[in-house]
Symmetry: C2
Subunit: 390 residues, 2 copies
């Protein structure tokens, strides 16, 4: 049964809640304002959705003061698009303007909104970066000599880790569409095709089925397995005895699914079948462990025990899953040192992977949402045994 | 006549030339090494091509010492993919590892390759950012207390602005494929379709015709024109009397084309036809002005004169074109203050645009390469008059 396509965008109330929750945390942490510079940070509070971020030329800024609505400080080219969001205070500069790429406008707006001796929060920690030139940030600090800068990563991380029902609907929809496309792979991918043609066929099928974009489709094929899961497709032909992995991050309305599937062609040898069974069982263990109140590290332990017992020689991916949403990968990380406590409405991938022979890895991935009654699959579960395309 | 698809990747000699040219400039500028952190910077010197950059979790580093080959300092998950490039010194850490996300390994490698009191170059200027956490860069500076950091933006900018014949072939190929897709738009987009369905049909046609990805497809449609050119498609139906703009950055083998096309449906009113004629004439002026030895600002002046004479009320895009290549937009900027001198093998867009009525803009775009005998079109020239789809 196909899930109905959710409406695009969010009601204004959703942004108001995000802002209120953020401002409550800001007040508690002593922030007078947040400076946001990256696509997901800015979209989270505004709904500003555009692929124009592909162009590195212009920086974009959003200020979230501890009280009041967010204020956009952006290049003039974005004014019309931003004006269609719920934001009404939009300040622009004519960009490109490398001699002052918005820095003075940003400084004066920060001073106006947050005061001359503000404590300003910025994402400075793990998995973040500052999307503005290093020189411009140095200049901004000089302009705002009375301000103090503090790391707001932890605050932002906690905000976005728990999804709203409307966010979950978008992820669930794109996961369902891609599940159907993966189920149809035997209809359009066969041995003798190049990896490039196979991946192209997958993208066309995904677009035809209803996703907006496929920003991420990586994988590999090889005899009895593959050695690497982040590469683009090559001209290599898929041959009998190969195993193909396709790992895709497809989007609907700015939200990602992220999961993979494995396919053997014509026949599959025993080691790769066994490896598949092991990662499948590890997913079972992850599904059972991913309950409200458990720590992510508990989910890791449950999955890793199955992989180790099943003969894992290692794992170069470095973790067994992660959060997802507006980005392909988000906190938390499913690994021993991440003790994030699972709460309802977190959306995660379970991604058990292992090296099972020299230069041979096997990786599974499913998308789940944490509910009061346990983990709920958003992707249709992969077949229980390695599927073989004749 | 369809252009043959160029081979994927580059011969090792191409990377050796890039490194040699960079190192000559580095020696002249007094750099002991460059630290590179972004996708295009790292790919330029290595050929490391993966969509894994969609995941913000892990930083990636490349060190280019003033002599010797580049050295990769990267998460273990990328080792196999990097090992297929010409790079042989690949140092990895198990990532994610937020308590030390490669910083100590990076510091010790920089010290080993560049010395304890090195002058290290980093892209800090316009159109750049540092793709690592602010906190980690601060930590790196502490670890490398004897080093000095300098802005290498200008050096990197000049290197990449002039393309090799093999790079030009890739851009020319994807521009030709997209030209054919735009020419076929009347076959698959018609009034009554939603913008979303029209854009989806375009992406499927582009993939079918041979591009690898369409990371950028934005635009709008509206009665007698549109007011914004960076937005995603909406559910709005394309109606008789509408003008639709589609602006696309499609990729082949890691290189972009970037141009747009305008289409009217059923009929077009006089103001929008006249605006089309004006931007078409401005493109003519740009083509004539874009010669070896001219400054980009000269090309701007030639084009802007035509737009002004044609009734331009302004231009929110902020420039009339830009460089392109591994990124959708690259230096230089076609604007009054950019006095970059054009040399052979620069690849640029000519993008004349103007506001011609309240909330109505008209934007054209073509892709060109500068040659000793003048500008050569890489995109097929747009129709001389606004095409009307019946």
């Amino acid at each position: 049964m196909q899930r109905a396509q959710p409406p695009r965008g969010f009601p204004v109330g959703e942004y108001q809640i995000r802002v209120t929750v953020a401002q409550t945390a800001m007040a508690a942490a002593g922030f007078d304002g947040l400076l946001l510079t990256t696509e997901p940070e800015i979209r989270y509070f505004t709904g500003f959705l555009t692929q124009f971020w592909q162009s590195p030329t212009r920086p974009w800024f959003l200020i979230l003061p501890v009280t009041g609505k967010p204020v956009a400080v952006i290049p003039a080219i974005g004014a019309a698009c931003m004006a269609r969001t719920w934001i009404d205070d939009i300040r622009t500069w004519p960009s490109p303007q490398p001699e002052d790429e918005g820095v003075r406008l940003l400084a004066s707006t920060l001073t106006e909104l947050c005061g001359p001796a503000a404590c300003l929060g910025l994402a400075m920690g793990a998995e973040t970066h500052l999307r503005m030139p290093v020189n411009d940030f140095a200049r901004l600090k000089v302009e705002l000599a009375g301000a103090q800068w503090s790391d707001a990563s932890s605050l932002l991380r906690h905000l976005r880790m728990v999804k709203s029902p409307a966010e979950i609907d978008k992820i669930a929809y794109v996961a369902e569409v891609i599940s159907a496309v993966f189920a149809a792979v035997p209809d359009f991918i066969h041995s003798g095709m190049s990896q490039i043609d196979a991946f192209r066929a997958f993208k066309i099928a995904a677009l035809s089925a209803g996703v907006d974009d496929i920003p991420y489709l990586v994988g590999a094929s090889g005899q009895g397995g593959y050695g690497d899961i982040i590469s683009p497709p090559s001209a290599q032909l898929i041959a009998a005895g190969d195993v193909l992995i396709m790992d895709t991050g497809a989007m609907f309305d700015g939200y990602y699914c992220d999961f993979d599937r494995n396919f053997a062609f014509v026949s599959a040898d025993d080691p790769v079948r066994r490896a598949y069974d092991v990662v499948y069982a590890a997913t079972d263990a992850g599904l059972a462990a991913a309950t409200v109140g458990a720590r992510v590290s508990d989910v890791f332990s449950a999955m890793w025990a199955v992989l180790q017992k099943g003969g894992a020689l290692g794992n170069d991916v470095g973790r067994l899953g992660h959060g997802l949403g507006m980005q392909l990968t988000e906190p938390p990380s499913n690994m021993p040192d991440d003790h994030t406590v699972l709460t309802a409405n977190m959306v995660l991938t379970l991604e058990p992977g292992m090296t099972f022979a020299a230069d041979r890895v096997m990786v599974h991935e499913e998308n789940i949402v944490i509910t009061e009654t346990g983990a709920k699959l958003l992707s249709r579960r992969a077949p229980a045994s390695l599927p073989v395309i004749p």
